[in-house]
């Protein structure tokens, strides 16, 4: 991450690369506006819940106890039970793992592949590869992400892996276009010309010289899209195309609870709140990050 203006001066003798990187991250977060800090805290909690969910659950999230169905909040079942008598708290926590784990992984893959393709197109501006990429991106961009996701799941079938694939493919053209645009700004820089002059290969120029210079912007953009990716995953699961029952995901939990919304709203309402809070947190973090990284807004 390159954010030279917000990193404190560190004497050359006492810095090493790892420490400097850590300090850059710390400095970055310290420079964030308060709202973005709150957003970062929300995202951190969501990710922590997702990572440590097996240790956090109090019951098996798929275990039914029909004698205990639709119970309210209690010491035994913190968020009550659903219509099958399953523990809602445990399903919510495990749902975070499925929803966040799936979307983060899928988006990370889309971002990795998409950034490289976009940079390749930017470096080849006006060439055959660039034209081909732009052509494909234009076609895929005509589909809204959810529709594209539904089409992909319809082709490959339902299930965890295919929903991940759907999210990756749905976001790939958007990331390619963004990486191409951002890459255009750096591709004409002198250090790129210099690298070319000394005979560096195209892959080397892209990976060593271009990639590090757009990484921070791409990271922020990807974070912003994570909220949309969560919505796509929850929508697909809500439509019955994503995570398959009885395993929990937030979208599936909303769908399953709808039938008894008037009897026991919590199994639907709690995942709605979880999605709402997480997406708001992500948007707050992304907004703040943009403010810090964008030279025009940083000075305000």
């Amino acid at each position: 991450m390159t954010a030279p203006d917000i990193v404190p001066d560190i004497p050359e003798s006492t810095t090493n690369r790892r420490r400097r990187r850590l300090l850059v991250i710390v400095a970055f977060f310290r420079a964030l506006p308060t709202m973005a800090k709150i957003g970062a805290a929300i995202v951190a909690v969501a990710i922590a819940v997702s990572v440590f969910s097996p240790a956090l659950i109090t019951h098996d999230p798929t275990e039914q106890s029909l004698i205990d169905r639709n119970q309210s909040f209690s010491a035994e079942h913190w968020f009550g039970t659903d219509r099958f008598g399953r523990d809602v708290y445990s399903r919510l926590v495990m749902g975070a793992r499925y929803t966040l784990g799936l979307t983060v992984t899928s988006l990370l893959i889309a971002a990795s592949i998409g950034t490289l393709i976009g940079l390749g197109a930017a470096y080849n501006r006006g060439g055959a590869f660039d034209s081909l990429v732009v052509w494909f991106v234009d076609i895929f961009m005509t589909f809204p992400t959810l529709i594209l996701g539904v089409i992909i799941v319809a082709i490959f079938g339902q299930g965890l892996f295919n929903v991940g694939l759907a999210i990756t493919i749905a976001f790939l053209p958007r990331i390619v276009r963004m990486a191409r645009g951002v890459g255009m700004n750096v591709v004409g820089n002198e250090y790129v010309e210099a690298a070319r002059a000394i005979g560096a290969s195209t892959p080397r120029i892209i990976v060593i010289h271009l990639l590090p210079n757009i990484l921070s912007e791409m990271a922020v953009i990807s974070t912003l899209w994570l909220g949309t990716a969560i919505q796509v995953e929850t929508n697909l699961s809500f439509l019955g195309l994503g995570v398959q029952p009885p395993m929990p995901s937030w979208g599936l939990m909303i769908r399953e609870g709808l039938e008894e919304l008037y009897i026991n709203p919590w199994p639907s309402l709690l995942p709605v709140l979880a999605i709402l809070i997480t997406v708001i947190g992500l948007n707050m973090l992304a907004d703040g990050s943009q403010d810090v990284l964008n030279p025009t807004t940083r000075e305000r």
Binding site: Q64, I67, P245, E259, Y262, D287
Partner: protein, 542 residues
């Protein structure tokens, strides 16, 4: 004036939030008046998305048959609330006689019955046209039921004589007002052609008025109805597939009658949330809830595995899940059906009660001491998915790991019928309440889905002994003899266990307290009503 507008995400979100709150507030303060309660107009909320067809010889969907039952008549009909041969009473036929060999039925028709919309008088020609239309129609799935008709004679305008190929002591039920038994208008079919299915012409108390796609069908009173002018001016059937939306409309008294969810908690909540205490009726015949075990999927071809699955099932869990709507049953046929085997008639060794230890023992004897894995397809429809998820949990407790691949309902139907997919197939079928309907459709050799004649024999089961007992039963004139052989069929099914029956599900229907059906229905009891909706007669009123 040069004024600049700056929008950012936060301001747009604030604006949207405020607008949403205002819209929600406006809705709360000014509920829709479009459905306001009207005197003489009955509003019915159906659970379907849209009309399929209103041709009675083709329609099978519940949202269509509910409407059809108010438009058409049969030669005979059931007393409202009952469905059995004993409950049959005259309708378009005033009287009938049966030959001693049960091969000829003669009907004297009612005089002066008028077809809707000026299509003239109802005569014996219409009866002949109608019955032959069902028997010979490739579109009608009811044609096998009418295939026994050999010849129809019409000696005069008001007499019909039906000759059968083989004796049928209960043929009178075939010409009752239901499905292929509804009489259609010959002249109207000739004039309207294919559009008859969307503009039906019948003889019933209400005539078709208007259809708005995905919204509603309306019927108006038939002033020439032979039973007298109906008290209701109009019936409006609205398509409200979402049960939460339907519940809201009912609680607001925007609809007077609605199909409910098969869930006692849900029904209680609606009753408690409503202003006037509405009434809940459980309409039958019950939907027989069965898990078919596909023989072509090893190790389901092993009887011990099938018996292990039967012992793994705990019917109490289903009772807890559905409440009073679900009635557990150990025999293959719902208890209110004619010829059903009662629990006390089932031999002890064939009464497969919940016994996980016995299930595990049977699995071990079959060579699956460490359990086994199965995979199947299931519909995403709430009742099927609920049944499958409970079943999965119960099987997991005895060591059977069942993977569920959830499909939308239409894809699931295609998967199990056309593509013969799945290992465990859930079915919830309701038919005319006599044992032969379910046996014919699910368990005789011709029903096997792998055969060209098969439609719903998902277990791919065939036992010649069962077929013989079934044929003997349906040929028997004496009801006791019929019942005896039907019970023999069910004993064979329990021995072979091609399918595990869990019980039956009633169809709950709710009515506002101010609705007068025109006949007495004892609240809370199972009312037999083939269209899964109340019969609306000339005496019905709001």
């Amino acid at each position: 004036m040069n004024r600049s507008w700056n929008f950012n995400r936060r301001s747009v979100l604030k604006g949207l939030g405020t607008s949403g709150a205002l819209v929600a507030f406006a809705n709360v303060m000014n509920p829709t008046l479009a459905f306001a309660r009207q005197s003489g107009v009955l509003h019915v909320g159906l659970d379907g998305r849209d009309m399929g067809t209103l041709h009675p010889h083709v329609a099978t969907a519940a949202q269509d048959t509910a409407v059809i039952s108010s438009i058409f008549n049969g030669l005979v009909r059931y007393v409202p609330g009952k469905v059995s041969v004993e409950a049959i009473e005259p309708d378009l036929a005033e009287s009938w006689t049966v030959s001693d060999d049960f091969k000829q039925y003669s009907f004297k028709l009612r005089h002066g019955v008028k077809w809707h919309k000026g299509y003239g008088e109802f005569t014996s020609e219409d009866v002949k046209f109608s019955l032959l239309n069902v028997r010979d129609s490739v579109q009608s799935t009811f044609r096998p039921i009418f295939s026994n008709i050999e010849r129809i004679d019409t000696p005069d305008k008001y007499e019909v004589v039906i000759a059968l190929k083989t004796p049928d002591p209960v043929f009178i039920a075939v010409v009752s007002g239901w499905q292929g038994g509804y009489v259609i208008c010959k002249k109207a079919v000739e004039v309207l052609g294919d559009t008859y299915k969307n503009q039906p012409v019948g003889t019933g108390p209400f005539q078709f008025e208007e259809f708005r796609p995905k919204e509603r069908v309306s019927l108006v009173a038939n002033p020439d109805y032979y039973g007298g002018t109906p008290k209701l001016k109009r019936i409006i059937y609205s398509y409200i597939p979402d049960q939460t939306a339907r519940r809201y409309a009912f609680v607001q008294q925007e609809i007077d009658i609605m199909k409910g969810a098969a869930n006692e908690d849900w029904l209680s909540e609606v009753v408690n949330a409503s202003k006037d205490k509405p009434l809940v009726d459980l309409l039958g015949p019950g939907r027989n809830v069965v898990i078919h075990l596909k023989r072509s999927v090893p190790p389901l071809d092993n009887l011990k595995i099938r018996l292990a699955i039967a012992h793994a099932i705990n019917r109490e869990d289903y009772q807890r899940f559905f409440g009073r709507v679900f009635e557990p049953n150990f025999g293959p046929i719902p208890l209110e059906y004619f010829g059903a085997i009662e629990p006390n008639e089932i031999p002890q060794n064939l009464l497969y009660k919940h016994d996980p230890d016995r299930a595990r023992q049977l699995l071990a004897e079959a060579g699956f001491k460490d359990g086994l894995k199965l995979e199947t397809v299931v519909s995403e429809r709430g009742d099927y998915l609920g049944l499958a998820q409970i079943g999965k949990q119960q099987l997991s407790k005895v060591g059977i790991d069942l993977k569920l691949n959830v499909l939308d309902n239409a894809s699931w139907v295609a998967a199990i019928i056309k593509e013969k997919k799945g290992s465990l197939v859930w079915s919830t079928a309701a038919r005319y309440p006599s044992a032969e309907t379910l046996i014919r459709e699910f368990w005789i050799c011709a029903a096997d889905v792998t055969k060209p004649t098969g439609v719903q024999g998902f277990a791919e089961y065939c036992n010649a002994k069962l077929d013989t007992a079934y044929q003997t039963a349906i040929a028997a004139a004496d009801p006791k003899e019929r019942a005896k052989y039907f019970k023999q069929v069910q004993t064979i099914l329990l021995e072979d266990m091609p399918s595990v029956t869990l019980g039956s599900l009633a169809t709950p229907v709710l009515r506002q307290s101010y609705v007068d059906l025109g006949y007495q229905v004892k609240e809370g009891t199972t009312v037999l009503s083939l269209p899964y909706m109340y019969y609306f007669t000339e005496k019905t009123n709001v």
